[in-house]
């Protein structure tokens, strides 16, 4: 019995060291590669490994001078998140900002400010991995102005790796004195 007891103790001491090694190996093998628009994977403050892809460019539509709004979809935004086996499940919060939109020489009359640019995410359009996905703004009526950063989407995974996609709509409120031209700006999505 004495011998059996010491054998048991030795075995129990070895198990923790094996456990650490095995979890480190699994992290290396399953961490997603690529997915971000330049292939970088980063670990967010929540511990998830995050990737994000967005459309490079988007045409939001055309309206005649004197119209009050232009509305168009940006294209598919996809966020991937990976957790750590035995340690945490993946989650992410995606936020979105906008620059002012300008045409020509960008005087006040040729600028549509970011406060007049609104965003609504709409629902999930594609996903993989069991998750609880929460749209930032599920419908047009909940559109939010991009005068400051807005939550675009968030999700919590129930499995080790998730992917979440949506196709947001941008609504531009045109000023009454808008000048005809092609207006350009940048919509930036972040995920952490």
């Amino acid at each position: 019995m004495h011998i059996q007891h010491s054998t048991l103790r030795r075995t129990s001491r070895r198990l923790p060291s094996l456990g650490w090694l095995s979890s480190a190996l699994i992290l290396a093998l399953t961490a997603p590669t690529g997915g971000g628009s330049d292939g970088i994977q980063l670990v967010s403050s929540s511990g998830s490994t995050i990737g994000i892809t967005v459309p490079t460019s988007a045409s939001l539509g055309t309206a005649r001078a004197g119209a009050s709004t232009i509305s168009g979809q940006l294209g598919t935004v996809t966020v991937t998140a990976a957790g750590v086996l035995g340690l945490l499940l993946p989650s992410f919060t995606a936020t979105v900002t906008s620059t002012n939109f300008i045409t020509g020489a960008a005087s006040a009359a040729l600028t549509v400010p970011a406060a007049d640019i609104s965003y609504w995410s709409g629902p999930v359009t594609a996903s993989s991995g069991s998750q609880t996905a929460v749209p930032g703004q599920a419908t047009a009526s909940s559109a939010q102005p991009l005068s400051s950063s807005v939550t675009a989407f968030s999700s919590s995974g129930l499995v080790l790796s998730i992917s979440t996609s949506w196709d947001p709509t941008i609504v531009v409120k045109l000023p009454g004195a808008v000048v005809a031209g092609t207006y350009a700006g940048t919509i930036t999505h972040s995920a952490a």
Partner: protein, 184 residues
């Protein structure tokens, strides 16, 4: 010895795990990427609408002047320019009755135009009525009204008056002619 060996292994692995996590977390703020988005505001046209016909009044023979309201004139400017200025130009034919003899004619040099103040405007800018009204239209036409521009679409509505200077020998009858508005 075995015990010593295995406990070192535990510490080593734990330290490596922590170090790796710390390095990646410090190297990664929230990942951000931008979409270059555009939208187009297209300019429309500049147009003017005028009454198809107008009855400018009746005077007794021998009265030397007569005026009448032409009806509603509207300029609609959907160009969406940075400077939306425009000018409304007015020309006229002579007004004649019967066989167009001198006493049956009111020549263009006897026909004058007054825009009056605008009755409605939209958009940024200022409506400028006929200068020195009533302004003799003559053979080359006059600026009936103009718009000093600011940005964007605009419109203006006015109801001009046409004034005829008549001859003492002006013959009784119905005089007709055409007053033409254009805008640019």
């Amino acid at each position: 010895m075995r015990k010593t060996f295995s406990s070192k292994l535990v510490v080593g692995a734990a330290t490596m795990g922590l170090t790796a996590a710390a390095l990646v977390a410090v190297g990664g703020p929230a990942f951000a990427t931008g979409t270059a988005a555009t939208f187009i505001v297209s300019g429309g046209s500049l147009s003017i609408s005028v009454p198809a016909s107008a009855s400018l009044g009746t005077v007794a023979a021998g009265v030397l002047t007569e005026s009448g309201a032409l009806g509603v004139v509207t300029v609609t400017d959907n160009r969406g320019l940075l400077d939306n200025a425009w000018t409304a130009t007015v020309t006229t034919t002579s007004f004649v009755t019967g066989t167009s003899t001198t006493s049956e004619t009111v020549p263009v040099t006897s026909i004058a135009y007054t825009s009056g103040a605008s009755t409605a405007t939209t958009g940024l800018g200022t409506f400028v009525p006929t200068v020195s009204s009533p302004l003799t239209i003559g053979s080359s036409g006059v600026t009936g009204a103009n718009w000093t521009g600011l940005a964007g679409v605009d419109s203006a509505t006015w109801d001009p008056t046409v004034t005829f200077t008549l001859l003492g020998s002006q013959v009784a009858g119905t005089y007709t002619g055409t007053v033409t508005h254009s805008v640019a």
